[in-house]
Symmetry: C2
DNA sequence: TTGACATGCAGTCTACTACCTGCGTATTAT
DNA sequence: ATAATACGCAGGTAGTAGACTGCATGTCAA
């Protein structure tokens, strides 16, 4: 349950976020497809994908010699639920206080 | 605008998330207050706070020799807006498809 | 069957990160 | 005025992360 850490760490790298974006744009891409257009060696991309997979942000399906990658949106949702919504409330409270202050003038 | 990276990196460390949580529980704490109960040297905490400040996740106000720290929920909201909501939609779509599949049975 | 293709495994190099310690400076309290 | 307090600055170290190269393995196609 406390694998929040892995998710945050996985998301902390811009290359990994781009990979997620690419998968979001078209799901089920292979490793070499994901490599194309990136200024990185295949091995680097592969490592990044491993990190994303370890964080459960993507899932993998083998099809012959090809490795297909799929986004898994669940961990991101959990991050939101367990971590962001709390701060969201404070933000809205702050906003509300700010408005009230304005109105009292 | 693309300082998303700094925010993600700042959030990637559990110590920094705990510091944010502590500030969320009680805003406006000083450095030494934030240090108390943590198994870390003051300097380490200070460095973490610098990272959070650089990511604009906290703001700082000097009062004499004391440094007061305040949470800034805006960047987290931006992360949500620009990065999470998108995946949220896909998650709901996936959920919807899943339900439809069940119903077709 | 042989060659091309998709990927994995292992090792290396560099840079950064998260710690620390020691010392310096400014502010408050006695 | 002096001591205690709150903090910053500089520097040092161990571990890790991100990139690479080279080679091995498994799969498909001619």
């Amino acid at each position: 349950m406390r694998d929040v850490d892995g998710v945050f760490k996985a998301l902390a790298d811009p290359s990994r976020r781009e990979l997620l974006d690419r998968l979001y744009a078209r799901n089920g891409q292979t490793l070499t497809e994901l490599c194309s257009g990136l200024a990185m060696a295949r091995q680097s991309v592969s490592q990044h994908l491993e990190v994303l997979e370890a964080a459960n942000l993507i899932s993998v399906e083998w099809q012959g010699r090809e490795k297909l990658h799929y986004v898994n949106p669940v961990p991101i949702h959990q991050i939101y639920e367990r971590w962001i919504r709390k701060y969201e409330e404070q933000r809205l409270t702050a906003l509300h206080n700010f408005k009230s202050k304005l109105e009292r003038k």
